[in-house]
């Protein structure tokens, strides 16, 4: 506090600046301690853990019927994905059957969730670059407007807008209500049209290109070494998408493209996510067209905590969330609660890339790169 400036041995003046834990562009409570020379970042120290809620310990004390609702809260921007990972791990241990209709519904919700999550990412990222009192806020509000429509769909389905509790071991808890299909179709049609508007607004804008092209470049080797996943990995030239590479929940039934960009910069990650938007819409259309009839769960509705018992064993289930691989490792001792649970958060692993790409950037690039990594701190700290 007293000595704000330290002189290094080269005689240049260095400045230590805190970005966070409370900062307008922090996507959660994250503290980056930046060492600056002028405006150039020469050192980054990342401090996480402000949002730690003992999720893994919590899971040991909650029954299999209870935890899916809590699993929503790890990545609260893409709640459907962490729920799915948890119940899929339990299903793998117990080798529980999941009806096809339930699998299709899971796919549809995961893709709707991806759209909602990418909407929030695009809006907040542009707000990081454009400012809450500038053009960024305009795009942010447009994106939020579209995200609300998707949340309306979720609300009609489960009654909640953010944290759902939609999945249960052996299937899903809710079937789609009457009229929902039409609402869903009109929503994705609308969002598809609006995506063209965003692209026109951003890609034909020289300022946007100046801020994103060549900024925060992740090379293919670095991406592999650090172990990032999701759009970051695909933006760096590696075609790895769990939905395609290790299909789960009937993803092999659907046709979609896994977008890959080779530049590895912020703009490449933006392009990957914009294509994912459209591919998600494509998958949702296929689900709506081919939704099979039948039960939505292989197990009866939840009546008591002891109802779901998983045999002894362990399993690792992973799903492709909007931010990358969301993994859940589950050890069962045969009771109605897991013996041990471990999350692999996509944001946590992706955040590890920051010290590699932030050094040498300007302060303004730090927020652009942070936004393009799209961390959700509920998932980082858990």
């Amino acid at each position: 506090m007293s000595d704000v400036r330290a002189i290094d041995y080269q005689g240049s003046e260095r400045l230590t600046m805190n970005m966070g834990p409370q900062h307008p562009s922090a996507h959660g409570v994250f503290r980056a301690i930046l060492t600056l020379e002028g405006e150039t970042v020469v050192g980054v120290d990342a401090v996480i853990g402000y949002l730690h809620r003992c999720h893994e310990k919590l899971a040991e004390n909650l029954a299999y019927v209870q935890y899916p609702t809590i699993a929503s809260k790890t990545d609260y921007v893409a709640a459907m994905c962490s729920e799915a990972a948890y119940v899929m791990a339990a299903e793998q241990i117990g080798q529980f059957d999941v009806p096809r209709r339930a699998q299709y519904l899971r796919v549809m919700m995961a893709e709707l969730q991806r759209i909602a999550s990418h909407c929030l990412w695009l809006g907040t990222w542009c707000m990081d670059m454009g400012g809450a009192l500038g053009g960024g806020a305009t795009i942010f509000l447009y994106c939020i407007r579209e995200r609300e429509l998707v949340l309306d769909l979720f609300e009609a389905l489960v009654g909640a807008r953010l944290l759902y509790g939609f999945h249960q071991v052996g299937g899903v808890r809710y079937d789609i209500p009457e009229g929902w299909t039409a609402q869903c179709r009109s929503t994705i049609d609308l969002i598809e049209r609006r995506l063209d508007e965003y692209e026109a607004m951003l890609e034909e804008n020289p300022f946007f290109a100046m801020r994103t092209k060549g900024v925060g470049t992740i090379s293919t080797e670095l991406a592999q070494d650090v172990g990032i996943s999701g759009p970051l990995l695909r933006g760096s030239g590696i075609a790895w998408d769990l939905r395609r590479s290790l299909p789960y929940s009937s993803y092999e039934d659907f046709q979609f493209v896994v977008p890959v960009e080779t530049d590895g910069d912020c703009f490449a990650r933006y392009r990957v996510r914009m294509v994912e938007f459209r591919q998600s819409i494509r998958i949702i259309r296929q689900v709506l067209d081919g939704l099979p009839e039948g039960p939505i769960s292989s197990r009866p509705g939840v009546k008591s905590l002891a109802q779901v018992k998983v045999p002894k064993g362990e399993a690792y289930a992973r799903v492709e969330g909007p931010r990358g691989e969301v993994g859940c490792f589950l050890v069962s001792d045969g009771s109605n609660k897991p013996y041990r649970m471990k999350w692999r958060g996509a944001s946590f692993s992706n955040l590890a890339i920051l010290p590699h790409i932030l050094v040498g950037c300007g302060v303004a690039d730090v927020v652009a790169i942070m936004g393009s990594v799209d961390p959700v701190f509920g998932e980082v700290d858990r």
């Binding site: 400045l15 670059m129 454009g130 500038g134 053009g135 305009t138 300022f207 303004a364």
Partner: protein
């Protein structure tokens, strides 16, 4: 009443007019903020202020009262004298600019024969108050912010000046009222090619010189929280805000005078100032439109655009104007 005013000595006239302009200005500024908020809200598919008074018309007053009643904090480590003086040092030049501006023939605090230069000189003095605010706060965000500000304002004052000199050359006078009357037949924005280009340059450089988004790197709240005014609260914050809007409005008036024919318009002569205000507000909304449409660009890019693009291009434009004038006017 007009006769009584005209019979007064020049110094007293200026004093009276100064009071009138200042009073009108504060009122207009309060509502310009509301105008911007409504305009931005419509761009973003929102409604904007709506609760205080009909259509939010009393919102500026509520904001003013709120800011007056807020606690005035001075950081312990701040340089108290500089910190407290900075908002005033920032506000004074921003209001003083209006002293150089005639609002109709004979109406205005002063109308000097070097009006444009005086306007630009006073206008660039705002950097002093700004730097005092950033330096006196003893805050790292504020310090980085004013480092950017000095870079940016110095870089953009030159192309801004050159863009403003095109109408000066076309009119052949630095006196603002002469420039206005030179447009009685043809507004300078309608002057083939030169007028449109220089107006475009004027708007772009004005956005940058006013530190408005997308060139608002010095208050860049996603990077520097609020930049140079991060430590200010209450009335001092309000003063800084007021000064910024005054500066933008003054630039809008200058734009309306240099390019849009100032007070020329249909109707009786006394409508002149209203036409002038209307045109200034159009320029203001143009600046606002740009502000709410683009993402911010980086400080090094801003400097690069200025020195490598704006400055040479505006000098070329100036040379082209000179050539046009020499070519068009018969040699005496």
């Amino acid at each position: 009443m007009t006769a009584a005013y005209l019979s007064l000595p020049r110094a007293v006239q200026a004093l009276v007019m100064g009071g009138v302009v200042l009073g009108a200005l504060i009122g207009i500024l309060a509502y310009v903020t509301l105008l911007e908020r409504k305009f931005a809200a419509r761009m973003q598919s929102r409604i904007g202020p709506y609760r205080v008074g009909p259509h939010g018309l009393l919102q500026p007053i509520a904001d003013g009262v709120k800011l007056l009643l807020k606690e005035d904090l001075v950081p312990a480590a701040a340089d108290r004298a500089v910190f407290n003086l900075a908002p005033v040092a920032f506000l004074v030049p921003c209001l003083l600019i209006f002293g150089t501006m005639p609002f109709a023939p004979g109406i205005g605090v002063s109308d000097l024969d070097n009006g444009v230069l005086l306007f630009l000189a006073i206008s660039s003095m705002e950097i002093v108050g700004l730097f005092m605010a950033g330096w006196g706060s003893n805050n790292k965000y504020a310090l980085l912010s004013v480092m950017r500000a000095v870079n940016q304002i110095i870089s953009y004052d030159l192309p801004f000046l050159f863009a403003a000199l095109v109408p000066v050359m076309l009119a052949g006078s630095l006196r603002l009222s002469d420039i206005a009357s030179a447009q009685s037949r043809l507004w300078f924005i309608a002057y083939p090619l030169l007028g449109q280009l220089s107006f475009l340059f004027f708007i772009l450089t004005a956005v940058a010189a006013e530190n408005r988004a997308p060139f608002d790197i010095l208050e860049a709240e996603s990077e520097l929280v609020a930049g140079f005014r991060v430590e200010y609260s209450g009335m001092k914050f309000a003063i800084i805000q007021l000064a910024e809007y005054a500066h933008v409005l003054a630039t809008s008036f200058l734009g309306a005078l240099l390019f849009l024919g100032a007070w020329a318009g249909p109707g009786p002569v006394w409508l002149g100032p209203l036409w002038f205000l209307l045109k200034a507000l159009i320029v203001f909304l143009l600046l606002t439109w740009i502000r709410w449409s683009f993402v911010r660009i980086r400080v090094d890019q801003i400097l690069r655009v200025s020195w490598k693009l704006m400055l040479p291009a505006s000098i070329l434009l100036l040379i082209a104007t000179a050539a046009t004038i020499v070519w068009r006017l018969p040699h005496a």
